[in-house]
Assembly symmetry: C2
Homo-oligomer: 202 residues x 2
């Protein structure tokens, strides 16, 4: 006999608990919620997930998630076509878009070089980044990868690969977070924020 007196419920709990961060108890709570609600809610979730999974594609220019061959950012004529921000993941695009501090284009690598996870340069969109420097009229490439060893390695690898690029290659600033008090900042970050100090400017 099924633990839940229903194989149908058990299958739903089983399927939901494969999602990251969702254990058996949470999955059961979600399934029972859906059982109590109108069937429309379950149908909307199932439909939205299937449509997303079957129809979403990667932008052929920047490799960001997109509903169309070229994504809404790449296709927006008001974006600055001379500046390119290289990120690891589409979540990073979201994070940068939320700052409203950037109006250029993106290039999504799909990860960072990580020998431990078996991710090499050829698993990432690095060669295509190099090709973009030939195809497009880029003046600056901003490397906005995670501040980890893997991110630094990838920054270095990309920098070497861009030896023919005539424009500027920059890296996002590392330093203390806005609102931080100095005593609680780790030494490496504080050291970097002193090395990378900028002229005071009101």
């Amino acid at each position: 006999m099924s633990e839940y007196s229903s194989i149908l419920l058990e299958n739903a709990v089983e399927a939901l608990s494969k999602l990251p961060g969702i254990g058996k108890k949470t999955a059961l709570r979600l399934a029972l919620h859906l059982l109590n609600e109108d069937a429309l809610e379950t149908e909307q979730i199932a439909d939205a997930l299937l449509k997303m999974k079957h129809n979403i594609m990667l932008c052929e220019r920047c490799h960001n998630i997109s509903d169309t061959k070229v994504c809404a950012i790449c296709g927006n004529p008001r974006r600055d076509e001379n500046t390119l921000c290289v990120v690891a993941d589409m979540r990073d695009v979201l994070a940068i878009e939320h700052t409203a501090a950037y109006n250029g284009l993106y290039h999504v690598l799909g990860g960072v070089i990580s020998p431990i996870e078996g991710i090499g340069p050829n698993d990432l969109q690095i060669e295509d980044l190099v090709q973009r420097t030939y195809r497009e009229d880029l003046k600056e490439i901003i490397l906005a990868l995670p501040a980890t060893i893997e991110g630094d390695t990838t920054n270095f690898y990309i920098y070497k690969k861009l030896h023919d690029f005539k424009g500027k290659v920059s890296v996002i600033a590392k330093g203390i977070a806005v609102g931080d008090t100095l005593e609680y900042v780790d030494e490496i970050t504080l050291g970097r924020s002193i090395q990378n100090r900028v002229r005071f400017n009101d």
Copy 2:
């Protein structure tokens, strides 16, 4: 433009974030996880949820969730047909089944009487419980409702309704939890556990 550069992704995040305890950030994490995994995983989730929602029914005898007209517990000939445990919710059936301390049948009320939430006796399977005492050969009815004011009210209401019932009506014991030290137990629980003391028995 969609916040996520994809309306399809946005719809999936929107649908998932209607689930209890799932906010926008978690929903996005789940959606991106599904995008990275094989389509089979998304299809399994969608399929399991739809099958559950469309095909699950309530057992016509005990009102527990079931795949068949009579649930696996009610249909099991090895369960004690003379003992009935009244619970508020199918989750309580699961909790009691996990204790392996009970081998009788259940009666799922579907909630407890709660004027604040607008739940009256007629919204619950109380009349059907009374009918079961006529139809079935019950020797004991165990009230296992939550130890709240609503649970106590419902216990009292059911007890009054069972005036014709010749068998025993009992209530699950309230007292200190196994493993508790007395100094941290609340006074009402500790008081109850003294009033309801049982003969020492090794």
